[in-house]
């Protein structure tokens, strides 16, 4: 079994330092604009910040992966090319991309820098992945969070590149890169603007008896009684009504986080090269706890010991966790 790379979120320079110091093999990050899929206010890197951060990460033996993984709309492509050229100049170790045009640009202009296919490209078959490998010399694919471990194992035997899978964090229900729900409601696009449920359009409205409604744009996403913790209004984690179902229900999924700690040995045995922790929007404390816990777990599996995973439940959304699609097809 090869030692897998632990790939950790770096939403800010301080989060990157924290991840590096906690034992991340690689960190991923983006610039402060629409070129990456976590374009949230207060997150991401300026050019000088990334320059300093790359130096610190490399000094600690940690690779820096730059997410340029949104889809540039026609007329704005140059912003993505600038992000790529800047990343190359700063010495990043790999680009994470989804758009075919951006991949072609990197392959042509920076052929020596590794290309990773983002989860946003939604490549879910060996054929799709082989297409990207053939065309752009993609070295690694980040798999959509829709496959079981046994499907991943089969996949590993059929493709010519490395596999990265998510192991912890936010658990979006829609196939990444194929969701325009946020744009339908808010006018900002997940694919084009890197935005999902933008905070500027979120409202928490309290009624007379203390119930709290969470709204995105003009629409109510959920409603909580006083004894419930109100979650952030993400469309695919809301409660809705439909004639076929008795009463309000989570039509897509409840607020819950992915946690694959107990599947870790299986994932590693399945041939996964890199294990990804989600959460560029999360705090430094989150990064420190999750990275430290998974560092220990991976190292003990490699040493042939049972992994001791510390309790991460407190860091999950709604204090609930799931193994999502990975454990069994019944998730679908």
């Amino acid at each position: 079994m090869n030692r897998p790379e632990l790939v950790c979120p770096a939403g800010t320079p301080s989060a990157m330092r924290t991840a590096v110091d906690a034992g991340a093999d690689a960190v991923y990050c983006g610039f402060q604009n629409a070129t990456n899929a976590r374009n949230f206010p207060g997150l991401n890197f300026t050019v000088p910040e990334l320059e300093r951060s790359v130096a610190h990460a490399h000094a600690g033996g940690t690779k820096v992966l730059l997410a340029v993984n949104t889809f540039p709309p026609a007329g704005k492509v140059n912003l993505w090319k600038e992000a790529v050229d800047t990343g190359a100049r700063l010495g990043i170790d790999a680009f994470i991309v989804a758009d075919i045009g951006v991949a072609a640009y990197i392959h042509k202009n920076h052929p020596d820098i590794r290309l990773h296919l983002s989860v946003q490209a939604a490549a879910s078959t060996p054929e799709a992945i082989k297409f990207y490998c053939r065309e752009f010399n993609v070295k690694r694919v980040v798999l959509p969070r829709i496959m079981t471990v046994s499907e991943i194992k089969t996949m590993a035997s059929e493709i010519p590149c490395e596999i990265e899978t998510f192991i912890f964090g936010n658990h979006g229900l829609m196939v990444e890169g194929r969701c325009s729900l946020t744009n339908y409601i808010t006018g900002l696009s997940t694919n084009m603007d890197g935005v999902c449920s933008p905070a500027a359009q979120v409202q928490y409205v309290k009624d007379d008896v203390g119930n709290l409604s969470t709204k995105l744009g003009d629409f109510t996403i959920d409603c909580f009684s006083c004894d419930e913790n109100a979650g952030y209004p993400t469309i695919c984690k809301g409660r809705y009504l439909t004639p076929a179902h008795d009463g309000a229900y989570y039509a897509f999924e409840e607020p819950i986080s992915l946690n694959l700690s107990s599947l870790l040995p299986d994932l590693m045995a399945a041939g996964v090269t890199a294990l990804k922790i989600e959460g560029r929007q999360r705090s430094r404390a989150y990064v420190k706890s999750v990275v430290t816990a998974y560092r220990k777990a991976v190292d003990s599996i490699m040493d042939g010991r049972n992994p001791q995973i510390s309790d991460l439940l407190a860091l999950t959304e709604g204090q609930k966790e799931t193994q999502g699609a990975f454990k069994s097809k019944t998730w679908r």
Binding site: A74, D99, V102, S124, L181, N183, T186, Y240, W331, R332
Partner: protein, 303 residues
Amino acid sequence: MMKTQLTIAPILFHWSAEQKLDFYARIADEAPIDVVYLGEVICSKRTPFFEKHYGEVAERLTRAGKTVVFSTLAEVMLKRERNMIARFCDLEDYELEVNDSSALWHLEKKPYRIGSLMNVYNEDTMAYLVGKGATHFSLPPELPHNSIAILAARAKELGVTIEVQVFGRVSLALSARCYHARAHGRIKDNCQFVCEEDFDGMPLNTLEKEEFLTINGIQTLSHTYLNLLGELDDMKNMGVTHFRLAPHTQDMVAVAKIFREALDTTASVKESSEKLATLGIPAPLSNGFWHGRPGHQWVDQIC
């Protein structure tokens, strides 16, 4: 300038074989439609119900003067689905519309169309795929008009054509999970085809009983119906060549006639809109995406 083409998208919902046969018979005999996209795009479990009819339907439509194109599954995962894609890519008699990058592996240097469920957002991606054999692009519905204008201009230079959806519910998201099954307390593997009860999709309303979204198996669609009658002139001027109608249970022959007249400017936007309003469309109309606004919104055109 080439004559504008009116197209009909694949049926996204799980209609019975009889419903589909009737639908395509009417399209063949009565509708001013130029291109018909056939095939199951959403759920491979549904394919056995209509598979045996495709040959006869395609032939009938072709005899009626329509161009027939087969659309591929939008989300490919299982071995059975991968084989389906491989078989489709070997089709000789009909063109193919690709909705997932799996097909691109098989189609090296063979001409094909790109469907609206593929992510072609910019001129670089378009040019790259043209180099790989793409001849026609149906654009993602969330693209705003200024991006579509640039894509249409570039398409003209590249010698390919552009299609934009102008009517019907808009696809917003795909998932591996079946939300139809989930609403009925089931999972995808034992769904018992509960989606067949909802001919235009299953309504999803907010807790305040406001109409919100539409569920179709693994797909989430808009509640509103897209209507770009008022934008057709702009689209023609930018070089959009194909105008796509999404099938619903409303009278699609009437919808096609309304859009054909509007494209030919034999009816004004006002007249066409009034006719559309008589067809009993069960949801508000929207055109927000085109105008760079939230997709569910309606932006009044200054006439």
